[in-house]
Each structure stands twice: as C-alpha cells, then as structure tokens.
Symmetry: none
Subunit: 237 residues, 2 copies
DNA sequence: GGCCACCGTCACATAATTGTAATAAAACCG
DNA sequence: CGGTTTTATTACAATTATGTGACGGTGGCC
C-alpha cells in the first residue's frame, strides 16, 4: 500500500518539524513549503494526496491558496485541511466555505491532526487507507489486490487494476485520456493517448466477461470527445 | 435538485430545535430522533444523505451507533458528523477513528455546524451542492457529462452538450449565432452561421423528446433576427 | 535459452458526429 | 395577399473518434 503524500504549507519551523514527524511516523510522506506561490506549484507538480494549509503564510494567504487550488481543474478535488490560529467562528466558516475539507485551530494536538487527516483521506481516497472500494457490483480489495464482480473473481493486469481503482475512487466521473495517463500511468511517462483505449478495452473485457460465453452489461461508459467513466447505469441503445 | 436529507440524532430538545431550524433554513430536510436504536432504523429506511450524531443519546451511545452504521453495508458510506460535549483529545480521536467524517464539540455555533455539514456533503455528493447546472427541469452534471430532463436521461452529442452547457450557464439570455459560434465552437473556427440552426435543432430534438411519441414543451426560444435563448416558460398560446 | 505475462503501438474496421446545401415552412411587412 | 426575410427540417457525404485484433518488445522466472 502506497504511502499517501501530504503537502504541508506552514511557516513556523518548529510546527513543521512537529507535524512532519508525526505524519511520517504514521506512514505519510511529507513535502514542505512555507510559501503560498510555491505551494500552488508543488500541488500541481507533485500531486500530493492532501494539503495541510496554514492560514498565515508568505506571499499568499492560506485562504487565497485554497481558493486557487479549487479553481484549477487539476487540483479542484485535492483534499485540504486548514490550520490556523484564528478561532473566530466567522473565519472557520469562511475557511470551510472556500472549499477546505476540515479546519483545525491552534493549538492542536498532533495526534488529532493526524486523525483528521486520516478521516478526510478515508473518505476521499479510500484506496490509500487500504479500504475496500465498491460500486456498481464491483468490489475491490485494495490491500489484497483482488477484484470481484457480483461476487465472481475478476483477474486484471497491473495497469488495468490501477485504472479500475482510479475509476472506483471517482465513480461516475468522466476522465480524459490525458487525465487518466496522469493519474494511472504517472506524470512523467510518455505514452500515446490511444494506449488508454487499449487498456480500457482490456479492462472491459476482463470486467464484463463471464465463465460462459455471455457478457455482463458494460460498466465503462465512453464519452465521445471527452473520455471514459465508470458508470452504474450504462446508456441503453 | 432535491433538498439533502439530514438525520439528526440528539436528545437535548432545545438543541434539536436550534439545529433543525438552522438546517431547514439553509435548505436541508431534517429527520429527528433521540434514540440510538431508532437512529439505525431510520438510517436504513429513510436513506438520509448525512447523519448528525450526538455522543450521548439513549439506548446506544453515539459512537456505538457510528460503529454499527459503518458495519452495515447499506450505510457504510453514510457521512457522519459527531456532535458532543466531550472535548478531550482522546475522545475526538476515537470519534474520528471510528469512522466519523467530522467532529464538532459543544458549544458550537449553528452556522459552523451547517458549514461543516456542507463541507462534508460537497465532497461526497457533488450533485447536491455544486458542479452541476440546473434550469427549467434540465440538470447537467458537468463532471459526469450527464444530462437529465425531469429526471429522465437525455443523450447529446459533444457539440449539443457544449451548446446546452453554455445556455445553462446563462439561462434566459439571448445569443446571436455569432456569439454562439464564438462561445461554443471557438473563436478561430470557420463555420457557417446556419450550422448553429442545425445544432439547435438537434439539441431541441434530444431535450424535448420522450420515450413515447409525444414531445415536451420546447425549452429553447427562437428570437427572430436575434438568436436563441434557453427559457423556462415559453409563451403559452 | 525458452516460456509467460504484460505492455505500448500500429493499422484497419466500425461507429458517431459534423458541416453544408437544398427545400419547406413561418414570420414579417407593406 | 404577394413578396421578402428568417428559421426549420431533412438528407448526405466528409470527417473524426473509438473499437479491436495483431505484433514485437521487455523483463521475470525456471
């Protein structure tokens, strides 16, 4: 199971130490910065699984960073935990409404922060915490690397597995070939976009197959000129 | 576009009032109970979109309710916000680790509670709080690339989809063919203005069609010598 | 080395969508 | 009403996107 990657945006050096230490001890990788602009760049390029964001940081306020992260398509769904000394209600609400997923006020205990990070991730990226993913009759045990459909075991190659996992983490949502290459293959790999088609084909074949010669309804929806999505109710022709 | 349904499990009658009032004012439907066993039944049967769960309630402790909700497949993914007087760290962590999505300690402000409820729902049910466009019975989920009219799925080609999205982003407003070409096709594409008519026709056909041979009222208004607009109430004769 | 599973790419088949032109129908105007 | 302008509708051929099978390559493993 992969170690989730956390981007920590905080300018108090001693806090950075404290938080990093606790996160790493609990199985997270931590990237650090104390600069708002740099945080945006890191969020784009390193694709962390979650951001811990202090309100008071250099160059851009935390809340502004939050807003920009939400606005950029690539990071619009990145989980954000705001971290701040501001305990006033209005600020907390403002933080949450800007798109933060949780909000922790200083002083806080490192253990509670870790617990909240876990709670957010468990929700948004169940695969990271070794949970099971279920959708449309498909069940994936991410830690055992096993997949079933309607109880029947499905066998997948490594790439098909990661592809399906990505779909299961965001059921119903359409992903372009480019997005899929980023998320499933990795950002620095160069492969043809059409390669995605081939793996979609392989995934479909595996997931829709039965032991006899019949086929189950297709769970992957092709969205012409947009990409593919995992879908419970495929469009009838 | 349904009002999200909240199950409120709380035994302090005045708090129930306070919370219900605020939630309903903010567009939620609220189901209430003060009993742990009953909460489990209601969660199963009424299928709420989120549960607000007090720690101290009759019959079963809140945390036990939480555990059982998580264990039952039907409610394993139901978002839970814990609500409690216990501010001790160990308790908060226990709450989060049991599977709560958020944890609010008394005393709290109703507005903050509502903001947290929204933050959790925004994550889990994007359809309920954003990312999709609604107008005149038409609902478009932009991230899933799905369109429904009065709940019935509408299937559109790529261009019709973009065209409808543009109309939904500016409901009621009239656009000339030139403006539509700019916005939907792109500034640097050369196509005949009349092409817009054809796509309007295709969009109308798809959106107004029913499964039988009847037709729904037209949602697109032709404005002679000006262009087209999406309109809720076409002029009756 | 030989076997096997998997991968990425290509070439071709198939299917969906597109823009245009031709024609019919409406709306407008004196 | 006749003439004119604007929009609706239909059919079609070109274009584009996706589906699919095959192939060569790579690396693990015995």
């Amino acid at each position: 199971m992969m170690r989730p990657k956390i981007l920590l945006v905080e300018d108090d050096a001693s806090l950075v130490e404290l938080i990093s230490y606790n996160l790493e001890k609990e199985g997270f990788d931590v990237i650090r910065t104390d600069d708002g602009e740099e945080a945006l760049v890191l969020a784009q390029e390193d694709k962390p699984d979650l951001v811990i964001l202090d309100w008071m940081i250099a160059n851009l306020s935390g809340i502004e960073v939050c807003r920009r992260l939400r606005r950029a398509p690539a990071t619009a769904n990145l989980p954000i935990v705001m971290l701040t000394a501001r305990a006033e209600e209005a600020d907390r609400i403002r933080g949450l409404e800007t798109g933060a997923d949780d909000y922790v006020t200083k002083p806080f205990s490192p253990r509670e922060l870790v617990a909240r990070v876990r709670a957010v991730l468990r929700r948004l990226r169940p695969a990271l915490s070794g949970g099971n993913l279920d959708y449309a009759g498909i069940s994936m045990d991410t830690s055992a690397h096993k997949v079933t459909r309607d109880g029947v075991t499905v066998s997948l190659g490594p790439t098909e597995f990661r592809l399906l996992r990505h779909f299961l983490e965001h059921p119903g949502r359409v992903f372009s070939r480019e997005q899929l290459l980023d998320a499933v293959w990795g950002r620095d790999v160069y492969v043809e976009q059409r390669t995605v088609d081939v793996h979609i084909r392989r995934l479909r074949k595996a997931v829709n197959a039965t032991d006899n010669d019949k086929e189950l309804p297709d769970v992957i929806r092709t969205v012409r000129s947009a990409g593919y999505a995992l879908d419970a109710a495929p469009v009838p022709v």
